[in-house]
Symmetry: C2
Subunit: 232 residues, 2 copies
């Protein structure tokens, strides 16, 4: 009934338990991988795999020559999945809808250029759109798309397909930046989202690059009551 071989998850769980039970306190040094492997009777690479997982989850810190230590300053490390808005809506069983509000090629304001880490401010495509769930407002997005990096966006019929979806499917990025904050709805935003002026709204700013080239920066304003949940 008992496994005669240890999997890396078994090793991980045993080490984690030892840490939770204070056999090793925060800041303490753990034995070398090789010693742990010998103690557990498994290969060193199995211990290595377990340690990698514990390190990823923020429980321990590993350094060459320095060894493995229990983190002295524990962090809560969470994973946030931000799907395409359409899928997010459909996953709750709601009907997804989409409205293009505005689409213009405009000179880029200074603060948008800064977000994209661009020195010279050229013209970009600005797209404002509303995502609907069950025919009611869900997320209002205000987006700038680089025409240099993604010229094809000019040929996309953005009244049919959201820039969100087109970009995610057609312009993969290599790097991105997310920031999350709260704003109070102004009169115009409130009208668009069918909210009251002054309502507190969660906002998600996302900027993406491919290499050093900026693709897009978007400010997604959610309806009152919207919550972000972590996966694990």
């Amino acid at each position: 009934m008992s496994a005669d071989r240890l999997s890396w998850k078994d090793v991980r769980d045993r080490i984690r338990d030892q840490i939770l039970q204070r056999a090793y306190a925060p800041g303490d040094k753990l034995p070398r991988d090789a010693d742990i492997a010998q103690e557990f009777g498994c290969a060193r690479s199995t211990v290595q795999r377990a340690m990698q997982d514990l390190s990823d989850s923020g429980l321990i810190e590993r350094k060459r020559k320095g060894g493995t230590h229990v983190r002295a300053d524990p962090v809560t490390r969470a994973t946030l999945d931000i799907p395409i808005t359409r899928l997010e809506v459909e996953e709750t069983g709601s009907v997804y809808g989409y409205q293009l509000i505005d689409r213009q090629v405009l000179p880029v304001p200074r603060e948008i250029a800064a977000k994209l880490e661009q020195v010279e401010a050229k013209s970009m495509l600005r797209v404002q759109a509303l995502h609907l769930a069950d025919h009611k407002p869900h997320i209002l997005e205000d987006r700038w798309v680089s025409i240099e990096t993604a010229p094809e966006i000019l040929d996309v019929d953005l009244s049919r397909e959201s820039a969100n979806e087109w970009l995610v499917r057609n312009k993969p990025y290599t790097r991105f930046d997310l920031r999350i904050y709260a704003i109070a709805a102004d009169a115009q935003t409130a009208r668009m989202l069918a909210a009251e002026p002054g309502d507190a709204l969660l906002v998600i700013d996302r900027t993406t690059w491919v290499g050093a080239d900026p693709i897009t920066t978007v400010r997604s304003i959610t309806i009152p009551g919207y919550q972000l949940l972590t996966k694990s």
Copy 2:
């Protein structure tokens, strides 16, 4: 000048580039690991390591027998690190401060019990406290701590050490839940945070368990303008 051996990161980058350049489109099937290994002239486990990374970052999906596919519904997957509040403040170069507002053993409201996934509502320790940065309000926390799971909390001098810090250092969890949303400041909250009533505030709810036993649930209300940033 050139590495004669491929590292798993090299393999990952080459595969990622092929995906970015549409050699494989969303939904497409990639070759078997063994074939890729042969093509690249490396061991299969090296390809496996690369694939694991791409899978973790949400670019591909892998199934036994099913093979490896480029994700048809790309997600933005971010990592969120939430440190101890004191360290978060000190990292910005500010002076950290802390004030205990209230500490009482109270019967648990129904909605708090629900958050903790508890059926019977027993008494818990409720702690309200304010974290300061440079002597100004920073985060207001409203916390419930399970006396059954963490009885030692009753002996901690919470006017000196924050429950946040004590718990993180002394009650490691095995599971947690995070939710992030926005609220408008009510009169009392505004007063505590030196904000204006109606200000939009970012709120982080965190609940932790060890096994099936609840440890604590906390609602952290941040000052106006607070931003959450992702790590990568």
